[in-house]
């Protein structure tokens, strides 16, 4: 290997800092800002130092820097556990590492460490975009390695070579990907890969749904088998929140599994591709008839996966849009009426007045909805803060809020009036992707509603938001608010005539991403087993799978070896020696026109023999022979001579008799 100029302590080329920046890139959205500044600052310094010829900082200074960085991470997080702190530490150390780089080995080690930063990006987010990111990062890293080992090589040839290596690596990668045994669970406990959780938690406090609605990120995609149901029935049920503590609603572990509804109509079957949200809940249309494999169906009809969802997963569900769950169980009635001992006296008085009026439970639901409809309530994503008696504030003074406020207040009123009620959070609606015909459900579609039990038919859905902002239910959240914060920069107003094209491009991209997930990324333990079984391979035990891996790789190896040999054989003969080949062609033509060349005769001897027989062709033959000899034996052979030789031989070949 070639060592760099020892007088220049740093590599002048921006290869490695750029690779580190690529590895860091996707993390910038959640990393503490100072770490980004730290890394970019130090890498910038290294580049500057390379060009100005600064001395590298001493070992002591580097250690102090690394210690300071780690201390900074500790202060920022208050601990050094978990994926977020781990990635931060790695980033901080990789910020310092280039300062000590003086030889190739150190640079290579830095490069290998950068792969771990790339990997942590992949744990955070999956999908087509991330796949392309992965390919780009690997391509660039290979080009950097190639240039480390060949300092004279410019960027484009290095990238070409790296690209060729990648292409050659694809078949083996594919074989390993298909055959390498997947496990149903993890090996051992490692830090949760989540560094940035988006979605619903166990507790929904005021403002939580509002925060979700700000985000344009996709929660999941749903593909229907057959025609999709009408938009206003797309209630994607998530968590059921039972406990109210005067401020927040909380989920409770429910005793026993869920029972099938006693009546079910409007059945739809569909597949959900859920983005990782690092929690176990699964989402399905209200109401799913059973859990997908690897998940359970709780007593409140919430779908809960056995493990936290850290990767994109796909599951198929059947839902009945119209259903009756039947009479409530004892615990359901008890939980559905639970309230804090005190607080929100005015709301309790309002409910008491309905009871005093002797209304039926259904009448009380109607009374509450009428209250929302008739009083000046507004649907807004930017409500004012509420005091300690939040429900009272909302119902009687502020009267501005979004689904979560309406659902919370409504459920409180119902429980106060003695009607069992519970809050359900999930998503409502979604964007129909015209290219592909599936629904994209975003965090922005997050919604909260209420289920009440007014008679023996059981729980039924009531959406108080519909009383205030029917367009939210009928046409989606964008129709209900003025400004859609999750759109970010990409609004119709800003983009103008470009907007439809942009929308179309986004839809196509999304569809491609779903296709990629469906065909490649969703390759799980179960799918691997069924796929290999269809290929006629045994998958019973890990030993079987390992055997498949070995046999598969052996087959691939033999195939590649055979192909390589075939290509080599085909290439070898004509490519061996173009100059010699030209001369042989001349000799073949000459044998047609005059004496043939004996196998061992030298070119000069053959020339004189040929010239004696065909003095008319002698000058041309001499020219060819001289050029050949010059190319072959003299150090003065020029590339132009090669062209000349082939031109002369062509001319010679055209001579008839």
């Amino acid at each position: 290997m070639i060592d760099m100029d020892p007088s220049a302590p740093f590599d002048k080329r921006p290869d490695l800092p750029l690779l580190l920046a690529v590895a860091l890139g996707p993390h910038v959205t959640w990393l503490p800002g100072w770490i980004t500044v730290w890394c970019l600052g130090l890498w910038g310094f290294v580049l500057l130092a390379a060009h100005r010829g600064y001395r590298p900082p001493g070992r002591a200074l580097r250690l102090i820097l690394a210690g300071a960085g780690l201390a900074g991470v500790g202060l920022t997080y208050g601990h050094l556990r978990g994926m977020d702190a781990g990635v931060s530490m790695l980033a901080v150390l990789l910020g310092v590492k280039p300062l000590e780089i003086t030889n190739i080995r150190d640079r290579m080690v830095t490069l290998f460490l950068a792969y771990f930063l790339v990997l942590s990006n992949l744990l955070e987010d999956t999908g087509l975009g991330m796949t392309l990111y992965l390919a780009a990062a690997v391509l660039w890293s290979l080009a950097v390695m190639i240039r480390m080992n060949h300092p004279d090589l410019t960027l484009v040839p290095a990238l070409k070579r790296a690209g060729r290596m990648l292409v050659l690596a694809v078949p083996l990668t594919a074989a390993l990907f298909v055959l390498f045994p997947r496990l149903p669970g993890g090996l051992f406990r490692l830090p949760d890969p989540a560094v940035r959780v988006i979605g619903f938690g166990e507790v929904v406090a005021p403002g939580d749904v509002g925060r979700l609605v700000q985000s344009g990120e996709t929660a999941f995609r749903a593909e229907f088998e057959g025609p999709p149901p009408p938009f206003e029935t797309l209630y994607w049920r998530g968590l059921v929140l039972w406990q109210y503590d005067g401020r927040a609603w909380r989920r409770s572990p429910v005793p026993g599994p869920g029972a099938e509804p006693i009546r079910k109509e409007a059945i739809h079957r569909y597949t959900i591709t859920l983005e990782p949200h690092h929690r176990p809940w699964l989402f399905g249309l209200d109401r799913a008839l059973g859990p997908p494999p690897g998940a359970s169906y709780a007593g409140d009809h919430g779908l809960v996966s056995a493990r936290d969802v850290h990767n994109q997963i796909r599951y198929t569900l059947t839902s009945a849009l119209e259903y009756r769950t039947g009479p409530l169980k004892g615990w359901e009635r008890r939980w559905g009426l639970g309230l804090p001992k005190e607080g929100n006296p005015r709301a309790r008085d309002l409910a008491a007045s309905w009871v005093a009026d002797g209304r039926s439970p259904a009448g009380m639901v109607q009374a509450a909805l009428d209250y929302f409809r008739n009083q000046p309530f507004f649907y807004t994503l930017d409500p004012p803060a509420l005091g300690p008696d939040g429900v009272d504030d909302f119902l009687f003074t502020v009267r501005r809020g979004y689904c979560e406020h309406y659902a919370s207040a409504f459920a409180f009123l119902m429980r106060s009036a003695g009607v069992p009620a519970r809050v359900v959070v999930g998503y409502l609606g979604g964007e129909r992707n015209p290219s592909g015909g599936y629904f994209i459900v975003r965090q922005a579609d997050a919604h909260a509603w209420v289920e009440v039990a007014v008679n023996d038919e059981g729980w039924m859905r009531v959406d108080p938001t519909a009383a205030v902002a029917p367009q939210r239910v009928l046409r989606g959240v964008e129709a209900a608010v003025d400004e859609a914060p999750w759109r970010g920069f990409w609004t119709e107003r800003r983009l103008g005539w470009v907007y439809p094209y942009w929308l179309q491009a986004r839809w196509n991209w999304d569809r491609l991403g779903l296709f990629w997930t469906r065909t490649v990324l969703d390759y799980t333990y179960e799918r691997q087993r069924s796929w290999l079984a269809r290929m006629g391979l045994k998958t019973g035990t890990l030993a079987d799978t390992m055997k498949n891996l070995v046999v598969g790789l052996a087959i691939l190896g033999v195939t590649v070896a055979a192909l390589t040999a075939l290509i080599a054989l085909r290439r070898r003969s004509p490519r061996q020696d173009p100059v010699r080949e030209q001369y042989d062609r001349f000799a073949r033509h000459a044998a047609r026109l005059g004496p043939a060349r004996p196998p061992a005769q030298g070119p000069r001897d053959y020339l004189s023999a040929f010239s004696r027989a065909r003095p008319d062709l002698a000058p041309l033959a001499r020219d060819i022979t001289d050029t050949y000899i010059r190319l072959r034996y003299s150090p003065h052979g020029q590339p132009s001579d090669r062209k000349r030789l082939s031109r002369l031989v062509r001319t010679f070949g055209r001579i008839r008799r």
């Binding site: 290997m1 992949l122 796949t131 990668t173 997947r182």
Partner: protein
């Protein structure tokens, strides 16, 4: 990097470089470099992460890098596979100079960047070989002592493209590089050593009349170099004085003062070069070998070779 792969190479490099029985070509050995081992260690770490988080993109990254490692193994091996060495020749040099062995290569029509050549006992030479390169590779070997350099082998190695593997091969050489004795200036030989007569008295160096300039020969005193003339072109010239030229000496080993044979050979070399440069005819008389007086470069080289091979 000059370090060798540590693991196992110790034994392999000591194996004789026998030729592959079927292809007749030298065998190419390959082992991971230290960064190569570290790369594999990193891959193991990535794989653990992928398995544990059951993340298919992480699997993809790991397998892609693993496959790239395999491709690199193949390509690094291919850097040397099919590379064969043709004839080797070296221009004679004087002791103390560097001998350049010119190695003609058959590249098999393939581009082979960053190949390191190391001739036994010499330093490393790194060459980018383009497919239509016809120029031989020039490998330096310090010629410290008079005699014949016979490097037994040349080692080719390469870590290209990724530096994760090092492939190497040893090709046995049958090349000879003549090392003439280092010319040592001094007075001419006593008159008896000359076949000419009458000029012996002025045979010593010194303050004779300026006669002209001639080409520089190794061993000429710096004081005598014609700097003005030398500065005009690439060649060096030496001033010549009356009394040095025009002699036709029979250079006799036994006539040279001193007892050390090597010293005597060095002195003879200087005198021989001087005699040749002045254009006269000269002969050489060594124990067991006599070269009749003659003229010209070929004659000079024959004499120098006899000096180089003396005692062989």
């Amino acid at each position: 990097m000059t370090s060798r792969p540590s693991f196992g190479s110790f034994f392999l490099r000591r194996l004789p470089a026998w030729l592959d029985r079927r292809s007749g070509r030298p065998r190419v050995y390959i082992l991971p470099t230290r960064p190569g081992w570290l790369f594999m260690l990193s891959l193991a770490g990535l794989l653990v992460g992928a398995v544990n988080y059951n993340n298919n993109l992480a699997f993809m990254l790991t397998f892609l890098l693993g496959s790239v490692l395999f491709v690199a193994l193949h390509q690094t091996h291919g850097q040397l596979a099919g590379l064969s060495a043709g004839p080797v020749r070296a221009e004679p040099v004087f002791a103390g100079e560097t001998a350049w062995f010119e190695l003609a290569l058959d590249l098999g029509g393939k581009e082979r960047p960053v190949v390191t050549f190391r001739i036994e006992g010499g330093g490393e030479t790194i060459v980018n070989l383009a497919p239509d390169d016809r120029n031989p590779v020039r490998l330096p070997l310090p010629a410290t002592r008079r005699g014949v350099l016979r490097p037994s082998a040349v080692e080719f190695s390469s870590t290209f493209p990724l530096g994760l593997f090092r492939a190497w091969t040893r090709i046995p050489l049958a090349a000879e590089g003549l090392v003439y004795p280092h010319p040592v200036p001094g007075p001419g030989l006593p008159s008896a050593a000359f076949s000419g007569q009458g000029q012996g008295a002025s045979g010593g160096r010194g303050v004779d009349d300026f006669k002209g300039i001639r080409g520089y020969i190794p061993g000429d005193s710096p004081k005598r170099i014609a700097w003005k003339a030398s500065s005009r072109g690439g060649r060096m010239f030496t001033k010549e004085f009356e009394g040095q030229a025009g002699i036709s000496p029979e250079l006799d080993f036994h006539q040279v003062e001193g007892t050390d044979a090597e010293y005597k050979l060095s002195r003879l070399t200087y005198l021989l070069l001087q005699a040749w440069a002045s254009g006269g005819s000269f002969g050489l008389k060594l124990p067991g070998r006599v070269i009749e007086p003659g003229q010209g470069r070929a004659h000079r080289d024959r004499c120098l070779e006899a000096l180089a091979r003396f005692g062989e």
